[in-house]
Symmetry: C2
Subunit: 454 residues, 2 copies
């Protein structure tokens, strides 16, 4: 008798509302501030960058927000995604723990990013926007928003961090195939880019700088052109809660409730997406499910950063956001989990961490790749370098259960597959990767530049 | 109200038997012959290459063959796959036709190939085999069998056609990540390879030559090492029928029966996989569903080849197979649909074509890429260059329905995604691809070398 491995929901069982955890938070997240006035950013100020509906979501404290029909229709290209029992990994670890993963790698872009790309493109389209700009680091977000923009006939310009542009030609080609223009950042198309190139013609770029370039292009033509972002902001986290809502229903089908829910952490969208609907059970039903964010040891804002107002970009075009941060000038090591190389965390997850409602752990790069290879060989799926961070903590939890001789139910989010990131595995097998130990002095130097408003 | 787009089957609805069309064929396929004796190949002869269970399946005329529990468990890593209504493509074409596709791209290797890779690895494992050899062209089969071998702890050596080895580094890296050794063919590890290199040190290889190399290694150590193949053979086609069996059930869920079922065609495994369970309805229930195989115009064995006994490889290690063929020395143009660059067709599909029970059409390369880009932008999924052949014919059928002003139900198999084949799209956008018109004289020259047994 063969075993049940997957728990599926059909189109009619797909969530029709997003879950906004702000409604249930004991301490609400702090508002974004205008960097000049230090006053909360107004809707009018935000409308330079975003369509009204997204600004409303960004500021909303409503518990449930309807997912538009057209967005639901497009979600159904790949959603609901499977919840999978990782029998292969359990066997490889010889653990009494039950391990489940939510498989977000089955989307056309190969990651969870389309969950927010589709509604973002939709709301821009509804407002008559013809052009979008954005940035991308590793390329997961860029691919997703390229796909989504194309579905709504919106023209997209992507500023891609130059080091990734050169390292990841397939990501660029995916964006081109979905009709987007991809520009290596820093570029000579913006003042921010030209200034960076003047200072250093060989500058390989950073996410913060690419954000500055993308925003600069959008604010030049605010009536036809808007900017969009794939993580950090409240509305992005909101959209991603389809992941966790489905997983809650699927864990019920599996007849198990997780003891621990694990997501890798860049700006918080994938982590929030899987985690918030389970956190809701803690906040409203008195459950005690551990919700664990996993960051790379080389970019440890949650475990070694400060809780402060900080900028989202390098130049200073974004509002100040209340976040755990390493400082907006922090230059993370060039690890392969490009999606986790960001200096700050979104304000919701930052507040939750401050209040002890979620946990965070930093993982060294080599342990994450070892876990990724183990997973690929036991479950058949090659995970994205970002996702290997969640897997590595799931492995630690499963081995601890084995040591303690007790059962435990572990759930992690497989945020994406690694088929376009195989160069990273090649480098790992060749012994060319390291753990990038990060001295305290470097973090201190970077956070000292912040001006201490909180 | 959002629309139902996907039709899903859960783990318990997965087929538990493969469908063997041989049982229902009015004319049975001709047996493979020993090239020396011209007598039907014996089980003993085949056991040099394959485990007993696969030989039994190769020769079987039983209608239904049980899928072992362990294979079912591993199928469940990604199966059942979704059947999707292509509303986006319908809208882009403004057609009255209903278009559905079976999405085989959601497997961990990104194609339908694991459907046969898993059982092949399983039966070898059950027989105590420790090493497998195989060849791969485009790399879809190599990736799938690398994944499957790893799941059973079998060590795998892949001979990869050198031109692909150099063009598709990510495919090689995927195989490495799943633990396989990948050797560019021709190589100096076999006599066949050394002879080819001696004749032409710059030889870029061919699938037929890579098969010769892989077989040579296997026959050296028949007790511990076997050979495996990702298409052409009856047992491979058998395993792939899980696709079509699921699709039959899902089309019933959708409340529609296809008028036409379309699959791209290399050796016949993906085409047979989607097509045979629908052909069964024609053969046993008197239905008249058109079953259409789509080959590249540059490798047109079905539409311009001859029905003859021919070798499966270049050197002559395989049996003679009754097939539509362009001759085993035919050198197909270097199109990007690497999986369709093979000189011959499997004996079952060849017999069915000869008997007028299926149709075949050859598509020029540029039309396939145009259809692929249209699909990517309308449905969000970037298709493999192989799969674009099926899409292109679906597009033709849908436009014909529009012209005739009548409805029609079209089903095609999306055999894989193109995320690791993006270089092909890049070349297409850059205007560097052509249709490779193939003169009759070239086909004549190649088939004249056959000795005419049939």
């Amino acid at each position: 008798m063969s075993k049940t491995k997957k728990f599926l929901l059909d189109d009619r069982q797909m969530p029709t509302q997003w879950y906004n955890v702000v409604a249930d938070m004991p301490t609400k997240p702090l508002p974004p501030l205008n960097p000049q006035t230090k006053q909360p950013v107004t809707k009018a100020e935000m409308s330079m960058l975003f369509p009204d509906a997204l600004i409303d979501q960004e500021m909303s404290a409503e518990r449930l927000i309807d997912i538009p029909d057209q967005v639901q229709d497009l979600y159904k290209i790949w959603r609901c995604t499977p919840l999978v029992r990782a029998y292969g990994l359990e066997k490889a670890l010889d653990t009494p723990a039950r391990i489940y993963f939510k498989n977000e790698s089955v989307s056309p872009a190969g990651s969870h990013k389309p969950n927010s790309a589709i509604p973002q493109a939709y709301y821009n389209y509804k407002q008559g926007i013809k052009h979008l700009t954005t940035e991308t680091g590793g390329g997961q977000w860029g691919s997703a928003i390229a796909m989504a923009s194309q579905l709504f006939g919106i023209d997209l310009k992507v500023y891609m961090v130059k080091v990734s542009y050169n390292q990841k030609p397939y990501r660029k080609l995916a964006m081109n195939t979905w009709g987007a223009e991809v520009i290596p950042s820093p570029s000579d198309t913006t003042e921010a880019g030209r200034a960076a190139l003047l200072a250093d013609p060989d500058c390989s770029g950073s996410l913060g700088l690419a954000i500055s370039e993308a925003i600069e292009v959008a604010v030049r033509n605010p009536d036809t052109t808007k900017y969009c972002l794939g993580s950090v902001l409240n509305h992005v986290l909101l959209h991603q809660t389809v992941i966790g809502q489905e997983a809650v229903a699927q864990m019920e089908m599996a007849g198990n409730e997780p003891d621990v829910v694990i997501g890798c952490f860049g700006g918080g969208s994938n982590f929030g997406g899987i985690g918030m609907p389970f956190l809701r059970k803690n906040l409203t039903e008195g459950k005690k499910i551990r919700i664990v964010a996993v960051e790379p040891a080389s970019c440890p804002k949650l475990t070694r950063g400060v809780f402060q107002y900080d900028l989202g970009d390098t130049v200073g075009f974004t509002p100040l956001i209340a976040m755990y941060t390493l400082g907006h000038n922090f230059q993370p090591a060039d690890i392969h989990a490009g999606g986790l190389r960001y200096h700050g965390a979104g304000s919701i997850v930052s507040q939750l961490l401050k209040d002890g409602l979620i946990e965070a752990v930093a993982m060294p790069q080599l342990e994450t790749f070892a876990a990724g290879v183990m997973f690929a060989r036991a479950e058949g799926i090659i995970p994205a370098p970002e996702s290997t961070h969640a897997i590595a903590v799931a492995v630690r939890e499963a081995l601890q259960a084995k040591e303690e001789g007790r059962s435990k139910t572990i759930l992690f989010n497989l945020s994406g597959h690694g088929l376009i990131d195989l160069y990273a595995y090649d480098q790992y097998f060749a012994g060319k990767l390291t753990n990038y130990d990060l001295p305290d002095s470097e973090i201190r130097r970077s956070v000292e530049q912040l001006d201490g408003i909180i």
